[in-house]
Symmetry: C2
Subunit: 284 residues, 2 copies
């Protein structure tokens, strides 16, 4: 583990670390915000943030303005990269020239298909390896919450439902809610999980809702001026699935807001407050 | 004038505009944040932000988190690019391969030397052309304040002092306060203003303080872990000049903070509040 950036920020410290991931078989970077409470030596609960297509660990930590809210509520914020990486092309990590497949587009699942299965194991990385690392190296409790944007919103919703009891709370901005039914998800799932659609439902939030073992309330914010709303995101499918299953959902549609980090920065404070409340109520 | 970006943001709207600058002889871009009050039709005072070396109009609007504070205080925020530009190399705008001269390094002055004098006229652009444009095309009053970072902190301090009565308030983050005495400033001033140093003092905050026609209070924030502190920034020179001249200065040194936007984001709220108070007190 090597610390490659550190910046004082809102009384705490924003850092970027790099480590050799055994799960992914490549070096990985993640952002860590340590709030003032953590710098004073207190152990703090952790909010994991999953970013969207094309992002690295940098986008959220530089553009969302999360630090002021994490400082206020005493949360550590962990923001991993969005896929395995192989910048020098020496590690055999598969890639694709498209922005929505391969490096930068890990979709927060463990791929089963060649050439992806060897390295594209973002579910195991985010759910197992990364928290184990965080809870060892930083003053973090084992209280965890999960949020994300777009592809990362899909990751947050599906990982929370696939691992009941592991997260105190979950939220999403502009999530892909039904990857099996939209082009981004269909392309990625066909590549990573194969053409047999029976394997897809286990990674599809709308499909998972019906059988969720835990009725963890969902907070979802969606901009109505989002260019991807009707083709890729389709929050009405999540709304219908939650209604049918009796799953608690707070879906907020915001007129005028788009898919950008300006949208995230506008509502991240409310998400952090939502997670902080759930984390504080969570027994260790 | 063409609007090339618009995003809902904190109840207001972050836009980017491009126009043909007659002062600079090239297309120029600037960010405009319109607070909720402006969208409701109220005329709002304007905070101008001047960015540092290598920046465009994008850095401040994406990384500083200024929108929430501008929304709260009802300020329009204008963030211009840092120099004339010539991306296709067809306009004859001079450039230099170094990051600290030429395009991206306008130093907020009107150059007098060849090959810079034809286009590098950022003082006239920021003080005259841009406000005239802003006050015509947006719901802006003629109440103006000025802030900036690093090279842009130099710009804020010098332009406020060179144009007494024009700005209600001025502040700076990590400013170059004595360009005549530090490498960044000496290189730029020799190129833009010539080797005769007698022309430099008129664009040097520390030199201007002694003769300032208006005792506009200065608010300056500086990180103590800033890599450029001892070589390029030297706030102690500003402190001494203000003390000698009886010029009001609030200089805050922040342990641990560096030169990055994480520093700006940590204190931008206090700067916006400072400017809002001065702007509200300003008669039109």
């Amino acid at each position: 583990m090597e610390r490659i950036e550190h910046h004082a920020s809102l009384g705490g410290r924003q850092e970027v670390w790099q480590h050799a991931s055994t799960t992914l078989g490549c070096p990985m970077r993640f952002g860590v915000y340590l709030p003032p409470a953590a710098l004073r030596g207190e152990r703090c609960p952790v909010l994991y943030w999953l970013s969207g297509l094309t992002c690295t660990e940098q986008n959220f930590i530089t553009k969302a303005g999360v630090q002021q809210h994490a400082a206020q509520h005493g949360l550590i914020v962990i923001a991993p990269d969005t896929s395995p990486r192989d910048p020098d092309g020496t590690l055999g990590v598969a890639n694709d020239p498209a922005y929505d497949l391969g490096q930068g587009a890990g979709f927060y699942l463990d791929a089963t298909q060649s050439p992806w299965a060897a390295h594209f194991r973002m579910e195991s990385y985010v759910v197992q390896e990364l928290p184990a690392l965080v809870e060892t190296h930083f003053p973090a409790t084992a209280q965890r919450s999960l949020s994300g944007h777009s592809m990362g919103g899909h990751g947050a919703l599906t990982l929370a439902m696939r691992h009941p009891g592991r997260y105190a709370s979950v939220s999403a901005f502009s999530p892909i809610v039904a990857p099996s039914q939209v082009p981004w998800g269909q392309k990625a799932f066909a590549a990573y999980l194969g053409e047999d659609r029976s394997a897809w439902a286990a990674h599809d939030a709308v499909a998972l809702i019906a059988h969720a073992a835990e009725r963890l309330p969902l907070l979802v914010d969606q901009g109505e001026a989002d260019d991807f709303l009707a083709t890729q995101l389709r929050p009405e499918l999540l709304q219908a699935a939650c209604a049918a299953a009796g799953h608690p959902l707070t879906l907020r549609l915001h007129p005028g807001y788009d898919h950008s980090y300006y949208f995230i920065a506008s509502f991240i404070g409310e998400h952090v407050a939502w997670h902080a409340q759930a984390l504080r109520a969570r027994l260790l």
